[in-house]
Symmetry: C2
Subunit: 348 residues, 2 copies
DNA sequence: TTGTACGCGTTATCAA
DNA sequence: TTGATAACGCGTACAA
């Protein structure tokens, strides 16, 4: 078990100085061809690679991006990571991940852990708890130390930084309009409580679509789920709530749900109640994940282009990291990713 | 935009030496209470945190685990990551990820990138291409440099290292036995080409179950898919192959598939052919992911306990990293995770 | 009780 | 053409 070889060891072995070895390996014109060849051959033989940690310390640059997400077992977030990874690796960066598990304190701890020199900048999506608590000090602190942040999807207007977001409002609006055009007269909305930024925007899109078509929203048609619950284990409760929605005295021939799971549950409940999809009730969800694609019937969804979001976020961050000018009057961008409606069998 | 504060800056500001500051912050008894308080107050005010990179360099230990997986947009792999992350963070480690995208060269490059000081050890699952090429030099090289590796799920017998695997053989065997007990007389197998280690073992489990029950395997009942194809985009081809399987002259009343997607596709094709599940044909898959749970009907599957695999792998690696004794005669463990059969509506 | 010196592995600058 | 030195930030053995 030999340790990784270092410049020092090569120097000692070849009886030259460390700096000579360093220069020879970087093909410096200062060094004679003789020594160069000797050193390079030796280095190749022992498979020398410069130590990243030492380089990071010297250059005060780690070439590593930290990504903090609430949850990794989520098609959307893993697709974003894939996008980040793709761009980052192409541009010579590594990706290190931290999971907040939707918890404020884990988000803070994870960020502090990484901010102490491990990474050059963050790409993150805010945890639900942080959104609830509205405590953003860790973001401002990180940024004030010169470490750039790019937020994606779940962003927050209080913080000035680069952002990559989905056009949640218009995505939702288009989906609901699709239902209206398809003949739905009474469209239910299954959404989250309002503190979740994206849920709020999608709700707004629903309302705007109705308004544009002179339809009046009815409280009975809107179900706001408390999504702090873990539906991996509480799926039943979700379905019960949806069943109550269907059993309220309102007639329902269309459902717009702000995520895949709600939409799938709605389909399940509808079928259970003897309704045919899409003939009796049409359903559209948000987030084009595996569930939508492989559901029966296939679920029509608003696709968010998660991977593209990751790519854009990574480019944004690396651009900032590599921009020479250390401008005081920083300019932050917000990139809005348009959505697509992926039509499957749950709509006519 | 102030940079992160360092010991040096604190020392200068307080007009003491760097080592005094260092000692004061670590509460060394060498330092007077006066200075301690002064230094600690100042450090707190400026939110001092030691620089991880400097510590890594000094200690020759990064407290970071590298994890290389073929694909992240995969319920199984993201669950493993979650397990690794959980244990790693609890034990004071970070997790850095590299995706091989099922490519040999990306696997090699990623490992080399991380092995140069960025991490203390690897947790990995081998890419399909590497399994095909049977080229494992990057693993042996990494290990010979004193960097431990823990392989999970897709392992390889040629390499001596710690491993965490699923009991693929018995998992498959139990599943097929379940079908037999449930009355299936003619059970089809949908599997992968043999170079995929797990596919091979699951196939073996299928064969053993048949043998144990005096049933003779028939070539017509076994479909070996070339899973180098990307079924995100080639789903149709997969379904066509399965349809041919059903249309062969063999009667089929049971299907065992070595992954979720194959199983779901089998259900889809069966339904299309007018067969009722589970009355006409019963289906069992492998990997207990979201797809199985939310399929209609719910898919009975062999659960692999992915998160637990990640946890065990992380413990194994960290134990090795922290074991004082740098024993030459290394002992490697292989942990076998038992599977569970999760029964849903696709079986009687 | 405090400070000096060293080393982790690298590169850049300057001296020989 | 080569080598010595300093620096990145930290902790610690040893000297003052």
């Amino acid at each position: 078990m030999k340790r990784k070889i270092t410049l020092k060891q090569i120097a000692k072995e070849l009886d030259v100085s460390i700096s000579t070895v360093s220069k020879a390996l970087r093909n410096s014109p200062e060094i004679s061809n003789d020594t160069k060849q000797k050193v390079q051959a030796f280095a190749k033989l022992y498979n020398y690679r410069p130590n990243n940690i030492a380089l990071s310390l010297k250059n005060r640059k780690t070439n590593t991006i930290g990504i903090i997400i609430p949850e990794i077992v989520h098609h959307f977030f893993s697709k974003v990571i894939r996008g980040v990874e793709l761009v980052a690796n192409n541009r010579g960066y590594n990706v290190i991940i931290g999971l907040s598990n939707e918890s404020f304190s884990k988000e803070v701890i994870n960020m502090e852990m990484l901010a102490n020199g491990s990474i050059d900048g963050f790409i993150l999506s805010i945890s639900k708890e942080t959104q609830q608590l509205q405590d953003f000090h860790h973001f401002t602190e990180t940024m004030s130390q010169g470490m750039p942040i790019v937020m994606f999807d779940r962003v927050v207007s209080e913080i000035d930084c680069d952002k990559v977001i989905v056009d949640d409002l218009n995505g939702a609006k288009n989906a609901v309009e699709k239902l209206i055009i398809n003949g739905c007269k009474s469209i239910a909305l299954i959404t989250t409580k309002d503190y979740v930024s994206v849920g709020k925007l999608r709700t707004q899109g629903y309302l705007e679509a109705l308004k544009d078509h002179k339809m009046t929203p009815k409280a009975n048609l809107i179900l706001k789920i408390d999504d702090t619950l873990d539906f991996e284990t509480h799926l039943d409760e979700l379905e019960e709530e949806i069943e109550q929605l269907f059993n309220s005295n309102e007639y329902i021939d269309g459902v717009f749900a702000v995520n895949e799971l709600y939409a799938l549950s709605a389909m399940k409940v509808a079928r259970k109640l003897g309704l045919n999809i899409p003939n009796d009730v049409q359903v559209i969800g948000f987030t084009d994940g595996v569930l939508s694609k492989h559901a029966t019937p296939g679920l029509t969804t608003v696709s968010q282009h998660a991977q593209q979001m990751g790519e854009r976020a990574a480019d944004l961050l690396i651009d900032k990291l590599e921009s020479e000018i250390d401008t005081e009057e920083e300019e932050f961008q917000t990139i809005v990713i348009a959505t697509d409606l992926v039509e499957r069998e749950s709509t006519k």
